[in-house]
């Protein structure tokens, strides 16, 4: 699949082919400007490919009649949670998507309650969004997407604006969704996020530079660094230890995990 922005010389994406299965987590990496967000926006029909096809559960994003089905199947969560919250209170924001679909009010209520429970924000229905923590705001953004009943979530650097606590909160929510069969396309700069994925894809200048298992990518941090990914020093330590025959899993990316593996 290829996409050229009007007036741009180089294709923003070229020769990219990618499948996300239900319940699967695919990590999408690459430096700024490599086409990650463009790829995400192709997946819910915000952008249409110049050549090639994008399908969601068999529906082509070019099919005008299926646009709203596709957008309800594929939720999109952006980097800055603040900018994607529409409602003046939490429950109204969650209801925004299904309201647009014309869902009757009684069902709206159950959808809102279910979505808020799934992200652990029950009890904050009447809270105003600007009074939430950043982690809560990002979980609210996820709830807004969940209320549409999606089978897939596009996550465009969802951790970028969060502190450690917020990250852990959101990560737990995403893990639970995945175990319920939601497919995740997780755009990230951080190698640490790759460890939990089923598959890692690296984009560079609009082309796929790497496509394989997270372990393959984590196993050669030098290579990941060359591809323009942030490599934490722990990953280099793990790779060095493995090179000397220590039994450390490639996914051990913090001191504690490395120590645990060494003590065993």
């Amino acid at each position: 699949m290829r996409l050229v922005y009007p007036g741009a010389g180089r294709a923003a994406l070229d020769g990219v082919s990618l499948t996300v299965a239900p319940g699967q987590a695919v990590a999408l990496l690459g430096p700024n400007g490599s086409g990650k967000s463009t790829l995400a926006r192709l997946c819910n029909g915000l952008l249409l490919p110049t050549d090639g096809r994008v399908t969601v559960d068999g529906m082509d994003t070019r099919d005008d009649d299926r646009v709203w089905d596709i957008r309800s199947r594929v939720g999109y969560v952006q980097q800055n949670p603040e900018n994607q919250i529409v409602g003046t209170v939490v429950e109204e924001d969650v209801a925004f998507g299904p309201e647009n679909l014309g869902i009757p009010p009684a069902e709206l209520r159950t959808r809102v309650d279910d979505a808020l429970r799934a992200v652990g924000l029950s009890g904050l229905e009447r809270r105003e969004p600007h009074l939430l923590s950043e982690g809560q705001k990002q979980r609210l953004a996820i709830a807004g997407a969940l209320a549409l009943g999606p089978g897939y979530l596009l996550l465009d650097e969802p951790f970028a604006m969060l502190d450690g606590v917020g990250r852990d909160e959101v990560r737990a929510v995403l893990e639970a969704l995945r175990s319920r069969g939601v497919g995740l396309l997780h755009i990230t700069h951080h190698l640490a996020d790759v460890a939990e994925a089923d598959r890692a894809v690296v984009l560079r200048e609009g082309r796929v530079a790497f496509d394989g298992t997270p372990d393959d990518l984590l196993g050669s941090p030098e290579h990941a660094g060359e591809l323009g990914i942030d490599v934490p020093p722990e990953a280099r330590l793990t790779a060095a230890l493995r090179g000397r025959g220590f039994d450390v899993p490639p996914g051990a990316l913090d001191a504690e995990a490395i120590l645990d593996a060494l003590w065993r």
């Binding site: 915000l46 939720g75 603040e82 994607q84 309201e99 014309g102 709206l108 809102v112």
Partner: protein, 263 residues
């Protein structure tokens, strides 16, 4: 801790509990009724209604009368236009050279000025007892019949909602930019008014750049969540008028219209 802007007075009262649409209807009827009143006793009854409304709404009198201060110029002008006569032939109350105060004119002036005060205080009860969000929702419902002539009622209400949603966000951001510029040596509270206004230019530029970025993100988020204009949208918290609302609306409107027509 709900933030309030504008005039809303957050207390519990029977007036606060009324639906926004009821209050809008009452205010409209009140405005027409008060304009129709042309006898002194009618005005006294209208004043009694306004006073009763303030008491029922449990709004402090000081706050309810706050709007009158802004009217002072109009009130003085109204009084003067009615009461002052230039070199009248008839007997006047007070006379300073050619300028005279006429008794009948003064009575008219007081009557019209009092009517303006009552109108403003009475209608301000709407904004004093209704949150901006409730007002927006009510407005959408009230404007909906206009969609027949292609007035975008849903879109207007959505714009107002988003504006309300982003007021606190923008305020927080402005504060951040001011702190950042102060850290770089900018001064916002010295010099004359022009100098102070100019000091805000370096605040407004980054603020607006950020707002445009936010608007773009928001548009993508809204489109991703299937927004396609107001048509066919349902509402989670559609405010509904209770029988009590209808009763208050009908009796209240009938009362003010009756006062207006007969007195």
């Amino acid at each position: 801790m709900p933030t309030t802007f504008g005039q809303y007075v957050p207390v519990d009262s029977p007036v606060h509990a009324l639906d926004a649409k009821t209050k809008m209807g009452l205010v409209a009827a009140f405005a027409v009724g008060a304009f129709l009143v042309d006898r002194f006793w009618g005005l006294v009854l209208v004043a009694a209604l306004v006073g009763g409304g303030i008491l029922l709404a449990r709004v402090p009198l000081r706050i309810a009368l706050r709007g009158v201060k802004a009217l002072s110029v109009i009130l003085i002008f109204t009084l003067a236009a009615h009461a002052l006569r230039w070199n009248p032939a008839t007997v006047s109350l007070v006379r300073i050279g050619p300028l005279a105060v006429d008794a009948a004119g003064l009575r008219d002036g007081v009557f019209f000025a009092a009517r303006i005060v009552l109108l403003v205080v009475g209608t301000s009860l709407l904004t004093l007892t209704t949150t901006p969000v409730q007002l927006t929702d009510g407005l959408e419902r009230v404007l909906r019949p206009l969609t027949i002539v292609r007035f975008p009622a849903g879109e207007v209400a959505m714009m107002l909602t988003i504006a309300l949603r982003f007021i606190p966000t923008t305020a927080q951001e402005a504060e951040r930019v001011i702190i950042a510029q102060t850290a770089r040596g900018a001064s916002f509270d010295s010099g004359g008014p022009i100098r102070r206004a100019r000091a805000f230019v370096p605040v407004l530029v980054p603020l607006f750049v950020n707002l445009f970025k936010r608007a773009e993100d928001l548009a993508v988020a809204m489109e991703s969540r299937c927004y396609r204009g107001g048509a066919g949208r349902t509402r989670l918290n559609a405010s509904a008028m209770t029988p009590r609302d209808w009763l208050v609306l009908c009796c209240g409107s009938a009362a003010v219209m009756a006062i207006g027509l007969w007195l």
